[in-house]
Structures are given as structure tokens and as C-alpha cells.
């Protein structure tokens, strides 16, 4: 399952979706809004996505993960809109027969999402804001 949503991410329903009798391992990665970046206090984040392309790119990443590892089931959900501290920005979940594949596939997916998926994050501070990674 791959989704971009403006609603809070529901990890319980993601867990239920992943669950299958063959699964011996599930790895979940939560990307969460931290209260600071490089020691600057963050007020909130604004996420924006090029939805249909982002879904396509996430699908490519998921397909590649399924080629490399024995993945029974996966969930990739990214949130967009305004996110406050402590909210889940992204959830990756991978179910596999054995644990090494779950860790490897989950980590591959989040690492690659950060490189190729057209989603952008603006950090809003008390006095200013910045599009992350935009400038050298």
C-alpha cells in the first residue's frame, strides 16, 4: 500500500494491513517532526508533494525492494500539509519471513524516498522559514 495523505498516519491500520501468517518479522520506520533542526527550535513543518509523480516514484522504490528482498507486504504512507512537533511525517512498514530482510528493505525504502520522491519540506521557525535542501 502506497499513499499520500493529509490525515494523521494510523500505524495500527498499517500493522493490520501488513499482518499475514507467513510474516515472522515486521519493521516499522516512523519519520517524526522533531522540535529542532541544527539547534534551531522548529515551530512546524509544511510538506508539499507532486502527488501522482510521488506515488509513481514510491512504487518504483517498493518494486525494487521486492526484487531485492523477500517482502510479503509493505506500507508506505507519507503525509503532507502542516505537521506539528511529534506528528508522523512518514511511515514505512515491511513484513518478511525473516528479520534481516525487514530491516534491509525498510531502510532502503526510506533512504531512497529521501533521494528521489518529489516531496518537499519547509521548516518554519519562530522567525523565518526555509525549504530544506533547496540551497547549497
Amino acid at each position: 500500500m502506497i499513499a499520500i495523505t493529509t490525515d494523521p498516519i494510523d500505524y495500527s491500520s498499517a500493522y493490520r494491513y501488513l499482518q499475514t501468517g507467513e510474516a515472522g518479522a515486521i519493521d516499522f520506520f516512523f519519520g517524526i517532526v522533531r522540535n529542532k533542526t541544527s539547534e534551531q527550535a522548529v515551530d512546524r513543518l509544511e510538506y508539499e508533494a507532486y502527488d501522482n509523480m510521488a506515488i509513481k516514484e514510491m512504487q518504483k522504490i517498493a518494486d525494487e525492494a521486492c526484487r531485492r528482498w523477500n517482502v510479503l507486504n509493505y506500507v508506505i504512507v507519507h503525509r503532507k500539509g502542516t505537521l506539528l512537533i511529534g506528528e508522523i511525517a512518514v511511515l514505512i512498514g515491511v513484513a518478511t519471513p525473516h528479520r534481516a530482510d525487514a530491516f534491509d528493505a525498510c531502510r532502503y525504502i526510506i533512504d531512497t524516498i529521501k533521494q528521489t520522491v518529489p516531496i518537499w519540506k519547509k521548516e518554519v521557525f519562530k522567525n523565518g522559514e526555509v525549504w530544506v535542501n533547496a540551497h547549497p
Binding site: 507532486y50 512518514v90 518537499w120 519540506k121
Partner: protein
């Protein structure tokens, strides 16, 4: 014969241009690289961005891809999801 390409804008490119998309007039047979050059001339601050890619029909496109006015074209500044 010129063609008009509508270009979707996201993140910092939207902030720089001040709108969600921009129309760009290009000669027939223009390529992705030409589009980028034209837009950077029109909006010099686009040149300050660390990297600027172009998606055509929601796939990353090479600089030599030829553009058609039917394509869905988008500027892709450095991504920062996750």
C-alpha cells in the same frame, strides 16, 4: 512556430515564481534544457537552487528530452521528504 508549455511549480520554485504554475513559450522542437534556460533567465533566483530537475509526464526527464505542449511538465527542486 512557438509552443506554450505549462510548467507545474513546487516548493521553493513556487515561492520564487509566486504561483503554482507558469506558462513558458518555446520554439517548436525545444528540449528540457531549453526550458530550464528560459525559466532561469526569466526568474534568476531559480539559478540559486542547489539542483533543478524537470519531470515530463511525472517521470524525471533528461536535458535532451523534446517537449510537446501536451506533456505535463514540472520543475523539481531538491526533494526533502521523509
Amino acid at each position: 512556430m512557438a509552443k506554450k508549455i505549462s510548467v507545474l511549480l513546487f516548493g521553493i520554485t513556487r515561492d520564487i515564481v509566486g504561483q503554482d504554475s507558469v506558462m513558458c513559450a518555446l520554439p517548436q522542437g525545444s528540449r528540457v534544457g531549453d526550458l530550464l534556460d528560459t525559466l532561469k533567465q526569466q526568474y534568476p533566483r531559480l539559478g540559486d537552487i542547489r539542483s533543478l530537475l524537470v519531470a515530463v509526464n511525472s517521470e524525471y526527464a533528461e536535458a535532451d528530452t523534446i517537449l510537446s505542449s501536451k506533456d505535463e511538465v514540472a520543475l523539481i527542486p531538491p526533494v526533502s521528504g521523509g
